[in-house]
């Protein structure tokens, strides 16, 4: 098979695979579709044999870098290994075949899982209520800020037009605030990675609707003044939003509810056993403090006095911000999270936080010892940390991107590059608790070797990678020319 052939190019008229062929539809099923809406010609689908399909996709999959094959230390993304068992449980026929409109009496098993998951998430985050409705992190953020808005409006507290966002926040936060009709005001971060408290105090006022914060931040450090920050924002009448992007590091150790946050979203597709990053389904449940309980998005799972489970919807929770999708979130992702939480238990959750932090700090110290420069050398890493190659870029002409590309030749997936934006020429590295010490050591060896290469043969490093199916891609062309349709 050629490296570059598409499945469409393998097509031969009349060839087919029994397992892939569409089932012939009886005419009476088609009759419900009006004639003018039916297509006149057959769709252009590839006509290939089963063997061709299997080989084509197996070959393609082997070209990928993937957590199943390589270390994948993509910071800010928590690309940890997701146990197969969680997926197996979510795929049980009873879950898989349940229709979302099935009556409550036929969905007691599913509803009980959702009810318990709500309670686990409440406990692990220290919030008073949880809704599993948001379909992904971005929708969780939207729901969170929409609740902040609903809260201020219900109190007749108009004139709160601004959301404060620290520089070290997640990139989606400003987009969320604008989507909810707020203006964004950025709060600077000091040299040590903590929020500039004086600047925050100056920015807070009667126009402040809330503050959106990621803690630990994308600088990879835990915000030490969080209590003072919460006090400042609350005294100004604003609410505190917690972006759960980096929840993995503090799981079971510190609770956002105890830090003073009023609303939080969690990325179950990062922390709770669903693969993340393929654009596949996610789940972004929201948790709230007492005062935001009336606004939680629906539907939610509830339990009656007799122990049976039911849906809570806008007919009884009239103040809710309402539905975010046709049904309740992505059921499969929520079921994996339920299995994961049940199998870890309280003790296991704490170990996730401890071992992800230990792995990050071990890796940071070892990388510093082989000559890497930490962006915040005086700070303990939380779950992730930043290296900067500004020195290498200036003195050797070897950039963070060059080093990232060379890592691929060492069979290591590159960490996140050039993010967060406030550190030049940076790597954001997150090993997670699922990696062994040996895997971390291999990464350190690769980095040490590349730093040596950068000094002795910088031109070679700038040309990397050499061992992959493709060399450097033209990412400028890819960003400028977005039309990707294939035609014969």
């Amino acid at each position: 098979m050629s490296e570059t052939q598409l499945i469409f190019q393998l097509s031969q008229p009349g060839r087919s695979a029994v397992s892939q062929a569409p089932k012939a539809l009886a005419d009476d099923k088609l009759s419900a579709i009006p004639a003018h809406l039916r297509r006149k010609q057959k769709p252009a689908l590839p006509e290939v044999s089963e063997m061709q399909v299997v080989r084509h996709y197996t070959n393609l999959s082997s070209k990928n870098f993937a957590i199943d094959k390589q270390f994948y230390p993509l910071g800010s993304c928590t690309m940890k290994y997701n146990p197969r068992g969680a997926n197996r449980a979510a795929m049980l026929p009873g879950f898989l075949n349940r229709h979302p409109l099935a009556p409550e009496t036929h969905s007691q098993g599913f509803l009980s899982c959702m009810f318990e998951l709500q309670n686990f998430l409440k406990e692990v985050t220290g919030m008073k209520g949880v809704s599993l409705a948001p379909m992904a992190g971005a929708q969780g953020e939207f729901a969170g800020v929409a609740m902040i808005r609903a809260y201020h409006e219900a109190r007749g507290d108009e004139g709160r037009t601004e959301i404060l966002i620290p520089e070290a926040a997640h990139g989606t936060n400003p987009a969320t605030a604008v989507m909810c009709g707020y203006k964004v005001r950025e709060v600077p971060v000091g040299k040590d990675g903590d929020v500039d408290l004086d600047a925050l105090k100056a920015a807070c006022g009667p126009q402040t609707a809330g503050l959106m914060m990621t803690n630990p931040s994308t600088c990879g450090v835990f915000e030490r003044q969080i209590e003072a920050i919460a006090k400042t924002v609350h005294e100004a009448g604003g609410l505190l939003y917690y972006d759960g992007a980096n929840l993995n590091a503090i799981l079971g150790k510190v609770r956002p509810g105890d830090m003073g946050f009023d609303v939080i979203h969690m990325n179950l597709h990062k922390t709770f056993a669903t693969p993340h990053g393929g654009g596949g389904p996610g789940a972004g449940p929201v948790g709230v403090s007492e005062r935001l309980l009336p606004y939680l998005p629906t539907p939610m799972a509830g339990q009656r006095d007799d122990g049976s489970y039911h849906w809570i919807d806008t007919d009884t929770l009239e103040t809710s911000i309402g539905h975010l999708s046709a049904f309740m979130g992505n059921a499969g992702v929520l079921l994996r999270a339920y299995y994961y939480a049940r199998s870890l238990g309280r003790e296991g959750m704490i170990r996730v936080g401890e071992f992800s932090t230990l792995a990050a700090n071990y890796l940071l110290k070892r990388l510093e010892a082989v000559g890497c420069t930490a962006a915040y050398p005086d700070r303990r890493a939380s779950h992730e940390f930043i290296l900067t190659f500004a020195k290498e870029a200036k003195e050797l002409g070897v950039t963070a991107m060059d080093i990232a590309k060379r890592l691929l030749d060492y069979n290591q997936h590159a960490p996140t590059t050039y993010f967060p934006l406030l550190v030049p020429e940076c790597f954001l590295i997150e090993p997670t608790e699922t990696e062994s010490k040996e895997a971390l050591d291999e990464f350190v060896d690769a980095m040490a070797a590349i730093l040596e290469e950068a000094r002795t043969q910088p031109d070679m490093v700038k040309e990397a990678p050499f061992t992959q199916p493709v060399r450097r891609l033209d990412d400028v062309k890819a960003a400028r020319e977005l039309d990707l349709a294939w035609s014969e």
Binding site: Y418, L421, P424, D475, V476, A479, R480
Partner: protein
């Protein structure tokens, strides 16, 4: 070291400003485009829009990042560089000439005094 023409004024947020009888041409510095990398998209203000010094007046987007552009002086936008729609790379290639972003009819001449000189801007990027 990237080029910093002596006759221009600079904002600490890396815009340059060139005054021609009250019409100020604005772009981003060679240093800024270098830090951004290859630009793929430039969002410009609308002609007729009134801005205050320090207001967001556009966005430049590269393969690495998106960054806001701030108006260095107050006034009305009187021209935008429409060539950038098809050729955002002009900002990378000729940041002080064909890569200009927009022109402002300045309402407060004194705004210029708040901007940095070439020497001051040079000192700022060295300390970064």
């Amino acid at each position: 070291m990237s080029e910093i023409p002596a006759e221009l004024r600079y904002a600490s947020s890396h815009e340059w400003a060139k005054n021609d009888d009250g019409t100020v041409t604005v772009g981003i510095t060679a240093h800024a485009q270098d830090a951004m990398g290859d630009l793929v998209y430039v969002e410009l203000p609308e002609v007729g829009q009134v801005v205050a010094a320090g207001d967001e007046a556009g966005v430049v987007e590269s393969v690495k990042a998106a960054s806001d552009i701030y108006a260095p002086v107050s006034g009305e936008i009187v021209a935008i560089n429409e060539a950038l729609e098809d050729e955002p790379e002009l900002v990378n290639n000729v940041p002080y000439e064909g890569g200009w972003l927009f022109k402002i009819a300045m309402s407060e001449e004194s705004d210029l005094d708040n901007l940095l000189t070439a020497d001051q801007y040079q000192a700022q990027i060295e300390s970064e």
